[in-house]
């Protein structure tokens, strides 16, 4: 049977969706530990639905960063979804305003990877929708569970939840370190941010690290 057969596409999509969606437990837990309410944690997963940005917002604000730097970091991380959308638009051929408005919310790392992994248009469309919908459902249920769990358990530092946040960022970062340029960008970004910690308001050092990406990506033709 071809790998593009609908049954196999859906099976793979639900597998990825379930695995990825369960990260939502850790997001819900760290969001509540950072001072967000359970409804706020759930609203972020329902409405923003892009893991790295969500973790960044609660991470920066939880560490005492101001709202502007927290939101700015989250949005800079979310900007990559626009690039995914540009690549997906011709492949998905979304019909009408409704499909585009709903489909847009599902444009994230995993749905892009699963859709681009399929050769034929119909299989790519099916992979996108099946992966997106299964991640969406599991991610939101898991966020609720994690948020309620953290609220019930109490003291976030004793549970090590403050250490869970950088671990989540590391797990999101490592798959992106594919070549020397990205590895050096990561090292430089971390060093620039740490060097600025004593001199800048919390949240600002991370934003300044974004300039490393501008320099690293822009200096060559």
């Amino acid at each position: 049977m071809s790998a593009d057969a609908p049954r196999i596409v859906v099976r793979d999509a639900v597998g990825v969706g379930t695995a990825v969606g369960t990260y939502g437990v850790s997001f819900g837990a760290v969001a509540v530990a950072a001072g967000f309410s359970v409804p706020q944690a759930c609203a972020l997963s329902v409405l923003a639905f892009t893991g790295a940005s969500q973790f960044a917002l609660v991470g920066v604000l939880g560490a005492g960063g101001g709202p502007v730097s927290g939101v700015a970091t989250a949005l800079l991380l979310g900007s990559r979804n626009a690039l995914y959308g540009l690549r997906l638009a011709s492949l998905l051929r979304l019909r009408g305003l409704g499909e585009r408005v709903i489909g847009a919310q599902l444009v994230i790392d995993e749905t892009t990877a699963m859709a681009l992994a399929r050769s034929a248009g119909e299989a790519a469309r099916l992979a996108f929708w099946a992966t997106g919908l299964s991640i969406y459902v599991v991610w939101n249920l898991a966020t609720l569970l994690g948020a309620l769990g953290a609220e019930a358990l109490g003291d976030p530092a004793a549970l090590g939840l403050d250490a869970a946040v950088p671990a989540a960022f590391l797990a999101l970062l490592v798959p992106q370190l594919r070549d020397p340029l990205s590895r050096w960008t990561a090292v430089a970004g971390a060093l620039v941010a740490l060097a600025l910690v004593p001199f800048a308001a919390p949240g600002v050092p991370v934003l300044a690290a974004g300039l490393v990406a501008v320099a690293a990506g822009g200096w060559r033709r």
């Binding site: 923003a48 709202p67 090590g160 990406a213």
Partner: protein
């Protein structure tokens, strides 16, 4: 936390996704723009790892979170799934705090 940061973040993240599907593809065809966009999450995530592990307010500190990060790195090295990585870090940090 205020609802403002939640709603502004949500709206901004959604608009980026919708813009990508709606704007003409030629808009971001410059290789330089593509490269910067690909490296942006790398630099920001690495900075977040560093700051969230080694900073408290405006001070650089070495505490139980560093042990947590080490546990996460080990878990990633053996290709553990995301949740195992996060739980390993939390458990390691909680253990160090309980022992000290």
């Amino acid at each position: 936390m205020t609802w403002g940061v939640v709603l502004v973040t949500a709206a901004g993240c959604y608009l980026f996704k919708l813009a990508g599907l709606s704007l003409p593809r030629s808009l971001l065809s410059s290789p330089r723009v593509q490269r910067v966009a690909a490296l942006l999450p790398v630099a920001l995530l690495a900075a977040l790892v560093g700051v969230q592990t080694f900073a408290t307010g405006r001070s650089l500190v070495l505490d139980a979170r560093a042990v947590g990060l080490l546990a996460a790195a080990v878990a990633l090295a053996v290709r553990a799934p995301f949740l195992v990585v996060v739980v390993a870090a939390a458990a390691a940090a909680a253990l160090v705090r309980a022992l000290s």
